[in-house]
């Protein structure tokens, strides 16, 4: 084991096969009425790794994320973090806190995921008080804000006084305050404009290199997947159609749907009509 850990520290983007898994999802099912939103979805995330789940709207990726986080119940299947099952909901404060420390979530819209009446510092303090009641809170708040590139000045600000990018930094800091094993990012940069997206993605890469936290990226944006994930899972109609190392999947897509997604990215010489035809044929 010490060897493996050392390898993690030296090469966080190294071969995922030799690293321990932190998150394992096995045979997840969830139906809403007659619609199978999630149908037999399984994947693993290596410790300190980064896994992308891509698919278009309605492909079941957000439902999968919500089940992993615990906001949605699965009809069948297991979500294991460090081999402990999260899907069986045991009541009580200790279990609740333990669940929170396994997985944290960064929401899509930073305009809605922060309480408009709570200042940034107060929101962080609240979380720290819950999870680490004995810690030195002011020091830790400054540390967390510094980690996401915010200053002391922002600690006293209300969410409405901050820009979209700043708010998403706050949301990330709040998730990191819990010190989770896995961070789920549900379209976390989709609501931000492109230059801010790049800043946030760089920030996330830095944080992963420093803390060894595992990322589960839920996104429809293949550019984001290319930037920040080691592995990728492609979902369609609730099923996984293709999975593998990101570079391989994007360079040599095996499934028609993956090819279609790649072709759908706007670029010079792009023909939306042929893509629409291909989509109908699929």
């Amino acid at each position: 084991m010490p060897d493996l850990n050392q390898e993690d520290a030296v090469d966080p983007k190294g071969a995922p096969a030799v690293r321990r898994t932190v998150l394992e999802v096995v045979g997840l099912h969830r139906a809403f009425g007659g619609v199978r939103a999630v149908d037999d979805v399984s994947f693993t995330l290596a410790e300190g790794g980064s896994l992308g789940i891509v698919g278009e709207s309605g492909s079941g990726k957000t439902t999968t994320a919500r089940i992993v986080v615990g906001l949605e119940r699965a009809d069948a299947g297991q979500v294991l973090v460090h081999r402990r099952d999260r899907t069986e909901h045991r009541r009580g404060r200790a279990h609740r806190l333990a669940r929170a420390r396994e997985v944290q979530l960064v929401f899509q819209d930073p305009y809605l995921s922060l309480d408009p009446r709570t200042t940034v510092g107060a929101a962080l303090r609240e979380t720290l008080r819950l999870h680490f009641p004995d810690a030195d809170h002011p020091r830790r708040i400054a540390e967390l804000l510094d980690q996401v590139g915010l200053g002391e000045r922002e600690a006293d600000a209300l969410p409405r006084q901050l820009s979209g990018g700043q708010r998403q930094r706050v949301a990330i800091a709040r998730a990191l305050a819990v010190e989770p094993a896995v961070l789920v990012l549900d379209e976390a940069v989709a609501a931000l404009d492109v230059s801010v997206q790049a800043q946030i993605l760089n920030l996330l890469a830095d944080i992963r290199a420093r803390t060894g936290i595992g990322y589960l990226f839920i996104t429809h944006d293949l550019g984001v997947v290319r930037c920040v994930t080691d592995d990728v899972v492609v979902m369609r109609h609730g099923r996984i159609v293709e999975s593998g190392p990101t570079t391989e999947v994007l360079a040599h897509p095996q499934h028609d749907y993956t090819r279609l997604l790649l072709d759908s990215v706007p670029r010079p010489g792009w023909d939306p009509r042929s893509i629409a035809a291909a989509r109908r044929a699929l």
Partner: protein, 284 residues
């Protein structure tokens, strides 16, 4: 600014004629509350001092608002009555607001069968006239301020719990609540620290409006002789006592408490609605 006003006198007059209404009402509420608080020091006479030789005298230097059929000073009784007349509604509003928030938040947060039970239960209370409930309780437990206040508090609970429930349902669907759940906060903590402070201004505005209604209901009970004990100065009781004075052609001792009741109710309504308006505008 002045130029605009000169060009459009109609609009300007509309604006200015609306703003003072709120300010006057706020001032009146403050005046009544002050009178209630400082009653023992403000009252020019003992409100219960009977002077039968001087009964039904008109306004004079010694009694600026005249005296009633028993020769008691009307001004002193109005000021002292403010205390009883406001204390009752205060109890009604305090109890119904606290209990209503508890019921409304529980129903909205837990949902399911508990929501059905609580919502149908409060609707059942809605169907039952509060004044009748109060009369029933008073007839069982006898005269006194506590019984009608408790009865009216129960009758007013649905106003608050329904409003709270709908506000919490809206607040609950906002993603920040889910964010706190993911962070590991318990439902109770999220409600107490975030949801209730968020909806509080609107609920308090409703409570202010309720205050006016409760005042008029309690005054009605006093008028029927069911509220406060006979000798306690109270506006509703004063109207009741003033009936005979009206028959004798000296209406002042009955009309003044009527006026006090109506003005106070209107003032609380205007202040409460204005408050709710302001909150709504701020949230938008």
């Amino acid at each position: 600014m002045t130029a605009t006003l000169l060009r459009r006198p109609g609009l300007a007059r509309l604006r200015t004629s609306r703003a003072p209404l709120h300010r006057i009402c706020l001032g009146f509420v403050a005046l009544v509350v002050l009178a209630a608080l400082l009653a023992p020091w403000l009252a020019p006479h003992d409100p219960n001092a009977v002077d039968l030789g001087n009964a039904l005298a008109g306004p004079s230097g010694d009694h600026p608002l005249g005296v009633d059929a028993s020769g008691r000073d009307t001004l002193a009784r109005l000021v002292a009555g403010a205390r009883t007349s406001l204390l009752g509604p205060l109890g009604v509003v305090a109890f119904s607001t606290l209990a209503g928030i508890a019921v409304g938040v529980t129903a909205a947060w837990r949902g399911g069968w508990l929501d059905s039970v609580l919502s149908r239960g409060t609707e059942l209370v809605f169907a039952f006239p509060g004044l009748l409930l109060a009369i029933l309780i008073v007839s069982v437990y006898g005269e006194g301020l506590i019984a009608p206040v408790v009865a009216l508090a129960i009758a007013y609970l649905p106003y608050v719990s329904r409003l709270t429930r709908s506000l919490v349902l809206a607040e609950r669907s906002r993603p920040y609540v889910e964010a706190y759940q993911v962070q590991g906060h318990s439902g109770l903590q999220i409600c107490l620290r975030h949801v209730i402070p968020g909806i509080a201004p609107v609920v308090l505005a409703q409570a202010t409006v309720n205050f006016g209604y409760a005042l008029i209901d309690l005054a009605g009970l006093s008028f029927l002789g069911l509220g406060v004990p006979a000798l306690t100065p109270d506006w509703g009781r004063m109207v009741f006592d003033g009936q005979s004075a009206i028959q004798h052609g000296y209406p002042l001792s009955a009309i003044l408490p009527c006026l006090a009741i109506v003005l106070t109710v209107v003032a609380f309504n205007v202040v409460g609605e204005r408050w709710a308006d302001q909150v709504a505008r701020r949230d938008r």
